[in-house]
Symmetry: C2
Subunit: 229 residues, 2 copies
DNA sequence: TTGACTTGGTGTCTGTTTTACACTATCATA
DNA sequence: TATGATAGTGTAAAACAGACACCAAGTCAA
């Protein structure tokens, strides 16, 4: 099955920057390419957009096919259209990004991918295509976004401690935050629900657990509340 | 000359939201379509991306061809990829936006456009395709951006009064701003160069003229200075 | 069982920023 | 020379941001 057009068209692709967080680092999900070009090289999960699916559908499909990941919230990042970014032919790629909790998702390599794995953002391998630039753009955007929207909760497990939350902000913003000021501010926003539970299996005083109260968030957001950190 | 591909491909387009400002209103540049679909309907300037040009080059070319506008700074806005957004066939469109001073640019309708004209953003005609959605997205972005970057100067003539500057912020942000606080803040940033000139031909006390000092802006920006309004 | 270690949890003070607010100055024109 | 239009200016109060240090609770090992 082939198609004929009057003028040549760029091929249209999507790429996904999926962020995760563990105790150590902010991480990104990469796949190892099983086919040329850049066979064997690590790359962002992604692929070509089919004629009858939206861009976001394409991104979700490729993520599922290549990494087994499902049900995540994608946000559009930027569209990369440099003429030589793919050595085969003209490819324009719409990049998306997502935040996930590492524990919630089992990854599994599949179609077109030899392997899928998490890499610390400050220790990435050499990437295929212009994917290093895409990752840089995503990091910048995440950093910019986390300041004025409580967006990072998706990186944490549903129940978390204030210290975990603070570490997350410190990792994304790449600067230390004062513990007392942070707690004052974040509790003052009224977005956290204090639970009657504490950490278990820790070899020191157990910290209280909290969870993100999405209802309160939506209420406050509607009123134009300011979530700056 | 035709081309044949193994799989169908979306057609790739660009669209431009060009903002301008006059004494009355924030405006947007529209063209009246000379060809179907939506013949005669007003639409954003834009068109298909050629195989050997970048997205931004395509946007600049279309602007020049359709409106005569040249030499403007485009910033990528968002990529619109809904499946039925163009009635003819699948078209994915990368939207750009720009700010210009109305006085600096003569517009002239050309290729594919019957006419080109400025429309007040709160009195737009019915637009072709999903262009109303694109305009809404651009307005939201402009509003978000103007708060933390001194971006609006491009909307004003090179020499302007503080009142003109304040009116611009009020029009974009859609809220009144206190005159004294505004002046304190904006002068405190050190981005404005006070000129030895005042308005002429006004039937009241003439206001001092200022201009935007791009050098100072770049210096401050490098140091991570905060330009919040 | 006690002491050392680890992380949790808390309040105050100070300087800065933001906001609210009203009158005089200058110029043109009638 | 009076009127009308816009320019230009300062202060006080409140809110916010940032710096800073110690005790509490639990685990573990001697």
């Amino acid at each position: 099955m082939t198609v004929t057009y009057e003028f040549p068209r760029p091929n249209l692709a999507v790429d996904c920057v999926v962020f995760g967080l563990d105790e150590e680092d902010l991480k990104i999900l990469l796949i190892q390419r099983a086919i040329p070009p850049f066979e064997g090289r690590w790359a962002l999960p992604g692929g070509f957009v089919q004629i009858d699916e939206t861009l976001e559908e394409a991104a979700l499909r490729e993520l599922r096919e290549e990494t087994g990941m499902q049900d995540l919230f994608l946000e559009q990042l930027y569209t990369f259209g440099a003429v030589g970014r793919d050595p085969r032919e003209r490819v324009v790629s719409v990049a998306y990004y997502a935040l996930v909790n590492l524990g919630d998702h089992e990854i599994e390599a599949a179609t077109d991918a030899r392997n899928a794995a998490w890499f610390s953002v400050d220790d990435l391998p050499q990437l295929a295509f212009d994917h290093t630039e895409i990752v840089q753009t995503a990091l910048k955007r995440l950093k910019g976004k986390v300041i004025y929207e409580p967006v990072g909760f998706e990186l944490l497990p549903r129940k978390f401690t204030l210290t975990q939350l603070q570490r997350m902000y410190e990792k994304i913003l790449e600067r230390p935050i004062d513990k007392r000021n942070f707690r004052k501010k974040i509790l003052g926003m009224g977005l956290l629900q204090e639970l009657d539970e504490v950490q278990v299996d820790v070899s020191h005083r157990a910290a209280r657990l909290y969870r993100f109260d999405e209802k309160k968030y939506r209420r406050l957001r509607q009123r134009g509340f300011n979530f700056e950190i």
